[in-house]
């Protein structure tokens, strides 16, 4: 349930940021469509898909090099990760690795790449320039979420079935801590100061905040939406603003994104992505924005885009107004959306 207090906190926060959100959207966004086997290229100025790039089988996780020039696409059923040139859309290279679910690049330097190999209970480490494997680390069952700390020294992997967040050091890949979290942890995101990592638990319906020095659990964030059964709240993707003030948590079948105060670990508001939008072409209201999986900010963090797996679209959320301002149809079952940094 959203408390009145939380709602009151959320309103001034929204108004405070609202004055700044005047810039028009620009740049490109990329959505991985796991059922279509494509990546949709969205021109944000036009708010439409301008190119559909065929990929291998079951594209899900993606990452971008820091200059936005290369898009890495995990192709779970093709047992490889393709490295696509975002200007030509040519495949510049491929990393052959079994069941890649998600992969995260270490920054700065765009290397190495840490890959969750879901069915092999492994994290593999790769050089993306040579496409050579540098190492592998055993994990719990079904590794999924992967995050690299802002200083590049600590890697966090979540294992869906073992219900653990596992931490590895760079460059040794030594396992330094395993933290039990509620069921089906799907995603990890570091705060930008590197002091904490947030882990979403899809079945637990929570986000666990873990201290990255002591590996103690600092807090467990719960979500509740009035009129909605708690089982519908299935947190997955987490996006944290660079000033570490707000986190946006995609809640899956709840058709909402939770807005959370990062310092307070408190839910401020819920943004509905599943809502009716009038479509002039078919002259009727359509329900869009169902089951948001993952989200990404535009570089100025004025907008957040969510990949909506059930409604086959991407919602554009005005971060200041905390509401959906547009919906872009993409391919079937979009899982992740990334936005070019330039």
């Amino acid at each position: 349930m959203i408390t009145r207090r939380a709602a009151l906190i959320g309103v001034p926060l929204a108004i405070a940021v609202a004055g700044e959100a005047k810039a028009a959207l620009s740049g490109m966004a990329y959505a991985s469509n796991e059922k279509d086997n494509t990546v949709s290229v969205i021109d944000l100025a036009q708010m439409k898909v301008v190119k559909t790039v065929p990929t291998g089988q079951r594209p899900r996780g993606m990452d971008l090099t820091s200059d936005g020039g290369r898009l890495l696409v995990c192709l779970g059923d093709s047992n490889r990760i393709d490295i696509l040139n975002t200007k030509t859309w040519a495949v510049e290279g491929s990393i052959n690795t079994p069941d890649p679910e998600y992969a995260a690049l270490r920054q700065p330097g765009n290397n190495p790449l840490y890959v969750s190999n879901e069915n092999n209970a492994l994290v593999t480490v790769w050089n993306i320039d040579t496409q050579k494997m540098l190492g592998q680390v055993p994990t719990g069952t079904e590794p999924e979420g992967m995050a690299v700390s802002p200083d590049g020294q600590l890697i966090c992997n979540t294992t869906e079935t073992t219900n653990m967040a596992q931490f590895f050091e760079y460059p040794t890949t030594k396992n330094v801590a395993n933290v039990l979290v509620p069921p089906r942890p799907r995603w990890a995101a570091y705060t930008h100061d590197g002091k904490a990592v947030w882990v979403s638990s899809e079945l637990g319906g929570t986000v666990t905040v873990i201290d990255t020095k002591t590996f103690k659990i600092l807090d467990t964030i719960h979500f509740a939406v009035e009129g909605l059964r708690s089982t519908f709240i299935q947190p997955v993707g987490i996006s944290i603003t660079h000033d570490d003030k707000l986190a946006f948590v995609c809640l899956g079948p709840a058709n909402r994104v939770a807005v959370v105060s990062v310092p307070e670990h408190k839910v401020l508001s819920y943004v509905e992505t599943g809502q009716k939008v009038f479509d002039a072409n078919v002259k009727k209201y359509l329900l869009v924005g169902e089951r948001p999986w993952h989200a990404s900010f535009t570089p100025d963090e004025k907008y957040l885009l969510t990949a909506n797996g059930l409604s086959n679209d991407v919602s554009v959320i005005d971060v200041a107004k905390l509401r959906v301002i547009n919906t872009v149809p993409v391919g079937q079952q979009p899982w992740m959306v990334l936005i070019s940094p330039s």
Binding site: N119, T161, R229, T231, G252, P253, R291, Q333
Partner: protein, 119 residues
């Protein structure tokens, strides 16, 4: 006679091409996506549409022998065609999806709306 032989040869070619096409498709992977919000299935059975010749429990193909919500299941031993799908959830409730088309598509989705006629 010559015309008949030509026709026969053409028919054989067409038949061979058809067989090759079916055989290529027989090796295709098929999938069921559980896009329901909260329903897990312990039984997923397919039968050619209009029959009750249910095949093996495909849910057993999954690592934990169940098709959880949000998960995708690999379906084995199928040829292109129209199927009825029998779904058994954890409470033992049985639902049937009719005429699931796996002729051109290689996957189908189970949504909450698919579970309206259950016993």
């Amino acid at each position: 006679m010559k015309g008949f032989m030509k026709l026969l040869a053409l028919a054989s070619l067409v038949a061979l091409a058809g067989a090759a096409s079916v055989s290529a498709k027989a090796g295709t992977n098929y999938f069921a996506y559980n896009s329901t919000a909260v329903t897990t299935f312990k039984g997923v059975y397919l039968a050619p549409t209009g029959t009750t010749h249910w095949g093996p429990n495909q849910a057993l193909n999954d690592d934990d022998k169940e098709l959880d919500f949000g998960e995708r299941l690999t379906l084995t031993g199928l040829n292109p065609g129209l199927y009825d799908v029998k779904l058994v959830d954890q409470k033992g409730r049985t639902c049937i999806m009719h005429r699931v088309n796996l002729t051109k598509q290689t996957s189908f989705e189970i949504r909450d709306a698919s579970l309206t006629h259950c016993k």
